[in-house]
Assembly symmetry: D2
Homo-oligomer: 362 residues x 4
Amino acid sequence: MISAGIVGGTGYTGVELLRILALHPEVEVTVVTSRADTDKRVDTIYPNLRGLCDAVFTAPEVDSLAECDVVFFATPNGIAMKMADELLNRGVKIIDLSADFRLQNVSEWEHWYGLIHESPHLIRQAAYGLPEINREAIKKASLIACAGCYPTAVQLGFLPLIEKGLIDLKHLIADVKSGVSGAGRKAALSSLMSETGESFKAYAVAGHRHLPEIKQGLAKVVQRQLENGEAFSTAFGDEAGKPEIGLTFVPHLTPMIRGINATLYSQTDASLADIQSLFEQRYADENFVSVLPQGVAPDTRNVRGSNHCQLSVFKPQGENTLVVLSVIDNLVKGAAGQAVQCLNLMNGFDEDLGLKTIALYP
Amino acid sequence: MISAGIVGGTGYTGVELLRILALHPEVEVTVVTSRADTDKRVDTIYPNLRGLCDAVFTAPEVDSLAECDVVFFATPNGIAMKMADELLNRGVKIIDLSADFRLQNVSEWEHWYGLIHESPHLIRQAAYGLPEINREAIKKASLIACAGCYPTAVQLGFLPLIEKGLIDLKHLIADVKSGVSGAGRKAALSSLMSETGESFKAYAVAGHRHLPEIKQGLAKVVQRQLENGEAFSTAFGDEAGKPEIGLTFVPHLTPMIRGINATLYSQTDASLADIQSLFEQRYADENFVSVLPQGVAPDTRNVRGSNHCQLSVFKPQGENTLVVLSVIDNLVKGAAGQAVQCLNLMNGFDEDLGLKTIALYP
Amino acid sequence: MISAGIVGGTGYTGVELLRILALHPEVEVTVVTSRADTDKRVDTIYPNLRGLCDAVFTAPEVDSLAECDVVFFATPNGIAMKMADELLNRGVKIIDLSADFRLQNVSEWEHWYGLIHESPHLIRQAAYGLPEINREAIKKASLIACAGCYPTAVQLGFLPLIEKGLIDLKHLIADVKSGVSGAGRKAALSSLMSETGESFKAYAVAGHRHLPEIKQGLAKVVQRQLENGEAFSTAFGDEAGKPEIGLTFVPHLTPMIRGINATLYSQTDASLADIQSLFEQRYADENFVSVLPQGVAPDTRNVRGSNHCQLSVFKPQGENTLVVLSVIDNLVKGAAGQAVQCLNLMNGFDEDLGLKTIALYP
Amino acid sequence: MISAGIVGGTGYTGVELLRILALHPEVEVTVVTSRADTDKRVDTIYPNLRGLCDAVFTAPEVDSLAECDVVFFATPNGIAMKMADELLNRGVKIIDLSADFRLQNVSEWEHWYGLIHESPHLIRQAAYGLPEINREAIKKASLIACAGCYPTAVQLGFLPLIEKGLIDLKHLIADVKSGVSGAGRKAALSSLMSETGESFKAYAVAGHRHLPEIKQGLAKVVQRQLENGEAFSTAFGDEAGKPEIGLTFVPHLTPMIRGINATLYSQTDASLADIQSLFEQRYADENFVSVLPQGVAPDTRNVRGSNHCQLSVFKPQGENTLVVLSVIDNLVKGAAGQAVQCLNLMNGFDEDLGLKTIALYP
């Protein structure tokens, strides 16, 4: 049994962690912090937990958190980077669901997040928390930078293709649609039901923070393949030999609460049958990724409330354009579920311990 | 480990049973029938079960069902009554989620359901499947008539008041609102998203099949109290001494998928404080019913996907009118979850085995 | 052609006024104020008005508003009462969509709205803006206190019954359900789509500001009938002869944007057929109220975007309990449409001028 | 005043025609047919029309339709082609909202629609009903093949770019999202609220009927420019000189009722500023198309219930990939509104007569 703390327990990823951990057989949540709701019972804010969670919100203090084996940060960006150093020094493992340690390039991070990074020295030691890509590093890490929701859906969809060098990396398109819970539990006009219900829109078209994260992630896959001596079919990368990803990423807001659907476009000569097999093989041993039979497209509800990603591949009209569909629940595989998956790996538990929930249908 | 069959596995209550039983540690689902989808894998129809359920739909045949320890009927009304007799004779226990055995009065059943009852002799031996009211009978029964969704929400809300004789039984009002999954998985114009989305309406105002079920249930509570020698504050019942329930029941359709909210009105002299205590005491030992703190009203999402009922009581403006709010998930506590709760009782398992799921929020 | 000003043009009732008035053949909107969005084009905030509205938000100033023939207040409560006096003195007519002049009893208003009333002397001269009840007074008034959204739906449903003295006034119940736009365009956690979508709840059960407004309105109907010498079937009213309304009012939030459904319960001996005729006669000459054929219940979408109210009456199970269903669009008949209906009456225009829009279906 | 008939008045495009035409000052709807609802009042099926439409559904018969000046077909595919010839011969103009006359290539039509075309000789004389592209032909035509909903949104987005030869025609992507009303008013499992609510999915990825229509439309624009002697920057087209459009079209279903958002990807060297100007100029005189200010993305609700199309252009990250966003209401600009726009053109009315409705917000 390990003890866990949650910093920022009143956001949607925080309550989702509570929902999952309340039934996790090897974890006891001993500290849940919230500045705004200090001293309130967790189940008064989240009545879905009534009878299943006796925790009380406390103020976020290093001393009490330092008594946990592991601390999750389900906070806005910029909090984990302030507290991580001390907690790590006191032997606590950290799983950060925010973006503080996701980008290896500090100045890029500071550009996109509009903050000065307060712990740049920790960035290199953070393992990127996307187990299907980075499992071995996660097992050994003390600090996990959980992948973002969009990056998870997009990277899992492109991964097999890039590993095999099958697509033109300069012309990738990710047209991604998210439910509104991705905007978090913040009182913002733009997230009102009257503003988002019964309507659909693109947003942040000119640039979204998850763009550099996705590009970094895909470039790393290429880099790793190159290091492994994989022969990519065509020369690529910039002059310095660094792989270069040309990606257009357009996020959209769709009138539902949970779920991400990524529709990914790339150019390839490979046949659909070969790509279907490739995907099936690549993910055959993955607990949380499943490839649908040829011709079947996934609904986001297939994974609502579960830690699964479902993928489909299509080559419409026999053209070179390949379409990959990738769906996840942004709060589970895109956040809290993935964090617990990382926790399981870090502690040698079964990777799906506490994560065997089934998507709610209908 | 017991083996279970599900007849009618393609409806919403059927798939909800599958979702729950797939993770139930003491049940193995060995037969799932569907006329329409015979020979298809269950997870092609319900892709939320991919990787978690290898079952294949078969045609509904008594011989294969008779090999199960227990058979659930998640069928339209009129199916269970045809197959129950033979299955019971062959030693199979039956949990019927349809309405076939809910009404003790055969002619009343035939009036409301528009069918000739084919197994009237079994009605008396059926235990009404609402554990909070009828636990001991359920434990001993071979045939369970699970309570309907509306009747569950309404009866749990009125129960403590009627047991104590605190309300005027002649003037009860149940204004009840349901999500659209209550209409089942049937291709009907009136259930289209274009017809039900962004709109709210009352329906079946002149009379709904759940009305006689609720009245029968409440009358039985009165009857039991009378038999126990409880002194009701005022004479009531018709001349023959039979308790008479005057109930106006108006169901409404609300633009969401899951959830029932019952707003119950009755007349009482008792104080709100006393009623709050009464509810808390009455349900103190119930796993699946919780009474919210005074002044807090429940959202249906508090119980979405879980087997819980949440209750609140109010006396607005100091008048005699008492308002009870009762919320459940119509597919769980109102159907499949309640059925599994009954199964647990019938088999001596912990009552909440396989039912510890937490409502999805947000 | 008259000139109109709108104070508080950025809320939902404000933009709804703009939508209606943009096509009104006898009104030109010359001033639209907004503190927060001063100097912005209206159609940048409300892109549905692109190409149809050239207005620019200005700061709310009496001098510019005083040049209008009429000024609408689509503001939070407490604003109109500060500006009304001066505008009236300068010959401007006022149509207040907020609650400032709705309650005749100042201390009751101050209790429910938590403010000191700054223009109590104007309350008596304000005509209550519900044309179906108060048409003649509206025609002659300079200051209109538009009826609230819930009060409109509830009063139109009870009106014919009270006028004829057919129901027991001590035991009225209004179980009312509203879309979320009723909460206005305010950044509030409780109005987020993630908080209100796919869920249903009661709120303000212990007391809602619209309760005294409804009771005052219904009492006034009784009073008027008494003054007209109508013989009510039974003695009623308190000892001083003042009619007393016993009303339990429970508002609920339903996961849709627009629409109110009121389900009204009362006790009557009258037959359903007589009540159906009564309703049809009472509203035969009303442009905006229609009584559905017997047995048909209204959907709120029947009136979405239109100024209509649709009504149905039922007596389920032959009991004395009468059920009236009443639906409106809270932003139209419950706010901006009603305000324009009043404007038309005040100016001698056809009552439905600019209001002939048809509800959007589906 | 002209008289109009509507064949297939019970579908969503039919009722939308009724909603628009009920207030059109120059049109009287004299015949509305429906096989299923013959002899019923239209307002019993569509209660939003109560008080505004006295029509009664009749059986579809050529004789009564032949007395109209114009007949709209709001029918499933395959009906208009059976009745058009006789009506045209009897001097009736036809506006077909179905797909019967959209594709110039008969065998292509028969392939995609799975029917034998019964009036292939009429195809050539049908004018494609997308006024912004084909206004002059529409004015003179007796038979209009109204553009489909997806084709309208996609073509208006690509049009200015293709007219100026600015994009690579071989690599177009249209990632399009539609509300569920696009599936029509048919009792289909896949359109239930329980199936489509709170979920998002791609469908018909391997091929959708609107693909050949879009390709034909875009090719025609190229053809016309070539005929006009416009110099396209690069050689394109197949060897025979026929312009060739390489388009990947992926439709998606989004959990709302009305609205289409097309996100269009193409490759161009032109600067964003030039493209923004180009779009503004191209549509400066169009009543129903507006180009949003740079950096602003449209919501589908901006046009809900109105005949407008709103467009935005972006070049994210300075790459060559251009992103065009295009939103319409699928039932208005994508169907009934566009049909009335064509009617206005055919009759010399103002193009926006009866179409000045403003989108409902919120």
